[in-house]
């Protein structure tokens, strides 16, 4: 009897002394990152955007959903820039790691693979870095595209070029991969519709290391403008070789590569190169929630020591949008969150976001607008200026 009382007292003391049970629950978001492989550079930038958002939301007590607070945790793996790994890892993330929501990997090709898995399991996935439209036209219900689609990428460059010289002879030189080909197809159609002259239209293998032969073809075609590229490695090489071979083009717009701060290492070869950009630090959107672009840029710089490009900004925006949807739904129930996302028409530091609810292209981004940025020399230093559209520009076009 005495022993029983002693035990009861000890038990009561334990409960009295124990800290109050944490009210936070955990929300797990899964994704893959190309820590290795050819997509490493841009994929890691995207991941940093995710991480900054996660750390900020947790520092503020987590996501508030219907009175419950959810601490955000990530489960992520290295997809090695390979489709096969994406397929394996997203299955693992969903089935074994039990992630409740998903972010996409980097690049249209990998996202197309991840989307098949996420749709199979009915998981909501916010896609960043996936511009190819085809992924959203396969009857999905839970995909949401943060980026502007591929047909928007070079539309601005074409318009800006047409304003400068409607008779410009354009060389399309683009990487043979899903994203670049989707952009090229859409741009080709736009150029034809605008009756612009196509001097050359050629794709190159992703394994191409020497662009000298293609540049000689551009010179032979007497092109005055070049549009295309693919991702960082090939875009940087094209820019360098165009400069070395004195191709004499008045206008060069390359996809992706020139948007990375590392592009400035090309020095003189970078001058005048323009890039369609999902976002630039100078944009002045007035957000409905979350930080401004300037505040995000400052925080990102403080955390990672470099200025963010649009890959990082897109990652951060994906987190903001998911958080907003959960908080508006008041729940982490995917059905309720999807309902909110379907009705979203908001502005964040990334720009306007509105998703298509048409069953044939569900989740396609309708609201976001791209800008065109160009590397220019200011006081001897290379800076990236926004040159188009006129209402967003920070400098005149270098032509």
């Amino acid at each position: 009897m005495k022993m029983n009382r002693l035990c009861l007292v000890a038990l009561a003391a334990m409960f009295a002394a124990a800290p109050a049970v944490a009210a936070d629950e955990t929300l797990t978001i899964g994704f893959t990152v190309s820590q290795t492989g050819s997509l490493n550079n841009d994929s890691v930038a995207q991941m940093r955007g995710f991480e900054l958002w996660r750390d900020e939301v947790n520092a503020n007590g987590g996501i508030n959903a219907g009175g419950a607070r959810y601490k955000v945790t990530f489960v992520s793996y290295d997809d090695e820039s390979q489709n096969m790994r994406v397929q394996q890892l997203y299955t693992r993330i969903i089935v074994q790691d039990k992630a409740q929501f998903l972010f996409s990997p980097y690049s249209s090709g990998l996202v197309a693979t991840a989307a098949i898995i996420s749709e199979q399991y009915g998981k909501i996935m916010l896609t960043t870095s996936s511009a190819e439209q085809k992924t959203y036209k396969l009857g999905n219900k839970n995909l949401f595209q943060v980026y502007s689609p591929a047909d928007q990428y070079l539309a601005g460059a074409l318009l800006a070029l047409k304003e400068r010289d409607a008779r410009a002879k354009i060389a399309f030189v683009y990487k043979d991969d899903p994203f670049s080909k989707a952009v090229a197809q859409a741009t080709r159609d736009l150029a034809k519709a605008d009756e612009m002259l196509l001097a050359l239209d050629e794709s190159y293998s992703p394994a191409t290391t020497d662009f000298g032969p293609i540049i000689n073809k551009v010179i032979s075609a007497q092109a005055t403008a070049l549009l295309g590229g693919g991702h960082y490695a090939d875009g940087a090489t094209i820019a360098r070789q165009l400069h070395d071979q004195k191709a004499g083009l008045k206008w060069v717009t390359l996809l992706v590569a020139p948007d990375t701060p590392k592009f400035a290492e090309l020095d003189d070869a970078a001058v005048g190169i323009s890039v369609p950009s999902q976002w630039e630090p100078q944009v002045t959107y007035k957000p409905d929630f979350g930080p401004t672009a300037a505040a995000f840029t400052k925080r990102f710089n403080a955390r990672f020591g470099i200025e963010p490009g649009y890959h990082a900004a897109g990652g951060y925006a994906a987190g903001l949008l998911l958080q907003h949807a959960i908080e508006q739904a008041g729940s982490i129930d995917p059905v309720k969150v999807v309902d909110v996302l379907n009705q979203v028409d908001v502005t964040t530091m990334f720009g306007r976001t509105r998703f298509s609810t048409n069953a044939t292209e569900h989740g396609l981004q309708l609201g976001h607008q791209m800008v065109l940025a160009q590397w220019q020399k200011k006081n001897g230093a290379l800076v990236k200026e926004v040159i188009w559209p006129n209402e967003a520009k920070t400098a005149d076009i270098l032509y």
């Binding site: 293998s205 191409t208 000298g212 032969p213 032979s220 490695a233 070395d244 090309l266």
Partner: protein
């Protein structure tokens, strides 16, 4: 017509560098019957060697080449004793697996240290402009250095005792042993030489294009094609094979999409293997 001539000339210049890259592979293959699957990784380490000598130590790009040759030779000798020495004379699969493992270790280490981010060494030299086409100074210098190194290699193999020993071991290791040649040491030196050639070709490529830790694979594949064109164990043939490959690339490009380049290259590879198994430029061995 001018465009075609420009394309061919450019192809020949780059082809000389391909030839230098292949020389290391063919030397090792010819001397010790080892297919070095770490060849691409070594080319990349040559690239990074130049990057750090030029960027970190401020050494002018071309002045760093002798340093890379010496480092490459030492690394090659070390690699020989660590990974290759015990598999020589064993089943061919053993040497393939061994060098493949070295490749994976080097790429893994490189990725951990440098990630797969691109690197660029800005080298600017005046080029030659002709009818609107520019042959960059870097291409011309790289081709010249490649030809010079090929010449030096020829002199080493045919005019020095070391070279004679290497050729003797390549011809008949047993007989060479009987003649008192320390064959293990000679094999180590030959491997070191092969690695040095791969590394220096990496430095020259790095003066032409940006690169990543994964860039070696494309050049390794070209090296295989060039080695087959030039004949196994034939460094002079490798240089000619590289130039021939560059010539073919230069001739093709004006007439067909560049994405067909690798299709034609590997079709050529198969045709040469079938029709000229000793290589188009194989010389008879004396």
């Amino acid at each position: 017509m001018i465009g075609i001539a420009a394309s061919v000339a450019d192809g020949v210049l780059v082809g000389a560098v391909y030839g230098l890259a292949a020389m290391g592979l063919t030397l090792i293959w010819g001397v010790m019957n080892v297919i070095n699957l770490a060849h691409g990784a070594i080319i990349v380490f040559g690239m990074f060697g130049l990057y750090f000598l030029a960027a970190a130590l401020g050494v002018p790009a071309y002045a760093a080449i002798p340093g890379v040759i010496v480092l490459g030779f030492v690394a090659g000798v070390a690699l020989y004793w660590i990974a290759v020495h015990r598999v020589i004379g064993q089943a061919e699969l053993m040497s393939l697996l061994s060098t493949f493992a070295v490749n994976m270790v080097l790429i893994g280490l490189g990725t951990a240290l440098f990630s797969t981010s691109p690197y660029n060494i800005p080298v600017s030299l005046p080029g030659l402009t002709w009818e609107g086409y520019t042959f960059t100074g870097t291409h011309i210098v790289a081709a010249t250095i490649a030809a010079a190194i090929a010449g030096l290699l020829y002199l080493l193999l045919h005019r020095t005792r070391v070279g004679k020993a290497i050729r003797a071991v390549a011809g008949n290791r047993g007989a060479a042993e009987l003649c008192g040649i320390p064959t293990r040491r000679v094999l180590a030196m030959a491997f070191g030489l092969g690695v040095a050639l791969a590394a220096v070709s990496g430095t020259l490529i790095a003066t032409l294009f940006p690169f990543t830790i994964l860039s070696g694979e494309a050049y390794q594949l070209k090296s295989f094609v060039v080695t087959v064109l030039g004949g196994l164990g034939n460094p002079a043939g490798a240089l000619l094979g590289g130039i021939a490959l560059g010539l073919v690339e230069g001739l093709m490009t004006p007439f067909m999409p560049v994405s067909w380049t690798s299709v034609v290259e590997f079709a050529l590879f198969v045709i040469v293997l079938i029709g000229y198994p000793r290589g188009i430029f194989a010389f008879s061995r004396s």
